[in-house]
């Protein structure tokens, strides 16, 4: 980063001489250094989202540090990066979903909510008095057009994906996702695969204890976004651990 320290990295409202917006790049960096990874896969019958979470404290009440949220009945959002920022984006997403419903009397489509949240996050890169969000999110939805998976990053970019990863180990996760049979995969099949990826990309040296959270919105869940059943999660985690041990 050649221009660091030259004064062009202090504000989102000023480009550097070589055409970069450093604050946005720093925000992306904040996502990657925050420690968690979120991955998502669009399957033939729905979308599966997964996040890894380090256990902050042994005394913390189990299951109270959620990283996958409902935006509406048919939309889930998995987040990585600065949690407080992610909560802000989540609230905006819920507001957009409610507002769309009251205006059009129908559930907000996945691409619309992704576009609106991208616009919201982009807005935070345009004014000197705002700080970009230090969070990248994955949005899994199921509407009339079927299942969709989108990502939104701090710059306000949003793409639709067959499979996506955001956060610390996104590169390693993506290379593993590419190996999955994405055009034929079902949600049931995808769940243990995502668990395996989570275990393989986890950096054991840095922190030993972590847990994974998996949700889906698919035909099996009645096209509603829910966390996967407890027994399915247990067997997926077991598969992930077994794969990790076999690898070692």
């Amino acid at each position: 980063m050649a221009s660091i320290g030259t004064g062009y990295d202090q504000s989102t409202s000023t480009f550097s001489p070589d055409g970069r917006i450093f604050q946005v790049e720093y925000a992306v960096k904040a996502v990657d250094t925050s420690g968690s990874t979120a991955i998502g896969v669009k399957c033939v019958d729905g979308v599966v989202l997964a996040v890894e979470k380090s256990l902050v404290s042994k005394m913390m009440v189990h299951n109270t540090h959620k990283r996958i949220f409902h935006l509406d009945e048919h939309i889930g959002m998995a987040v990585s990066g600065v949690q407080a920022d992610a909560r802000n984006v989540m609230n905006r997403g819920r507001g957009e979903a409610t507002q769309y419903r009251s205006t059009y009397g129908d559930a907000i489509p996945g691409d619309v909510i992704a576009t609106r949240l991208a616009g919201y996050m982009h807005l935070h890169t345009m004014y000197w008095w705002l700080r970009p969000f230090g969070t990248s999110v994955l949005i899994g939805s199921y509407d009339q057009d079927g299942p969709q998976l989108h990502d939104v990053d701090p710059s306000g970019l949003s793409y639709r994906h067959f499979a996506a990863a955001v956060g610390k180990a996104k590169t390693a996760a993506k290379s593993q996702l590419e190996k999955l049979p994405l055009s034929t995969l079902t949600c049931r099949q995808a769940v243990p695969e995502l668990a395996k990826i989570m275990y393989s990309i986890h950096d054991d040296l840095k922190e030993k204890t972590f847990e994974i959270e998996i949700s889906w919105v698919c035909e099996e869940s009645g096209k509603k976004h829910t966390h996967i059943p407890a027994d399915l999660l247990t067997s997926a985690v077991a598969a992930g651990k077994a794969a990790k041990e076999a690898e070692e």
Partner: protein, 236 residues
């Protein structure tokens, strides 16, 4: 007729236009059952001949309406918004019928205080943990619970019947029979009631809204046929 004089804020309340008539409901052993007919009238004209006036608003709560149809649709929207907000909280708890009822009365009362009432009388029925719930609220925000309730003209015709015949030990079949009789009486005497009716219930297995059925009226009673002619006043 629709124009509101801008200088008089007191006249911003419209009269009800398209209306549904009585809704009735009773508790029985193991559940709660409500019933309405399926028409909506514009004045004396049957504007809609097949409308649903009972809806599930959560997995164990339903509401039945009387009054303005458009206001009722607004009520459903408000409750749906509430339900989705609760779903997003995702803490495993869902609102009880009593809580939904209380919320609904606050909505109705607030609207009345703005002189813009939701022109409805509503029944809230629910069943959870072995307890049946049946509540009433209306365009003023009035709010109470009872073992049997009726709205609109049903208050005059169905309520006395239910006061005579209701017992806490009623079975589902007894409840259905009583509601059908009450609906039939309403159909005989309420000009804006229909014999195409819909019955719904909430029990331990959740909300069940039956398909509409058609009640058979008995129009050949001797008093029906002769009464008017004999007494000369057309009444019976």
């Amino acid at each position: 007729m629709f124009a509101q004089p801008a200088d008089d804020p007191r006249k911003n309340t419209l009269r009800p236009m398209v209306t549904g008539t009585s809704a009735i409901g009773i508790k029985y052993k193991g559940g709660v059952m409500v019933a309405t007919d399926t028409i909506a009238c514009y004045g004396n004209w049957i504007r809609y001949k097949d409308v649903q006036r009972i809806h599930a608003v959560s997995k164990d709560t339903l509401i039945a309406m009387n009054g303005e149809m458009s206001d009722y649709q607004k009520v459903l929207q408000i409750l749906e918004q509430k339900r989705l907000a609760e779903y997003c909280v995702d803490d495993g708890s869902t609102q009880t019928s009593a809580e939904l009822h209380s919320y609904l009365t606050r909505v109705m009362y607030q609207k009345r205080c703005k002189f813009d009432p939701l022109w409805n009388m509503l029944l809230v029925g629910g069943f959870r943990n072995g307890e049946a719930y049946l509540g009433y609220t209306d365009l003023y925000g009035t709010h109470f619970e009872d073992n049997f309730l009726a709205t609109g003209l049903g208050m005059y015709m169905a309520l006395p019947l239910m006061r005579n015949q209701w017992t806490p030990e009623m079975s589902e079949a007894d409840a259905r029979a009583l509601l059908q009789m009450a609906l039939k009486i309403c159909y005989y005497r309420d000009t804006r009631a229909s014999n195409k009716v819909q019955i719904a219930r909430v029990d331990a297995s959740g909300v069940h809204i039956d398909e509409p059925i058609t009640l058979q009226g008995e129009w050949n009673h001797a008093r029906f046929v002769e009464g008017g002619a004999k007494s000369g006043d057309g009444g019976w």
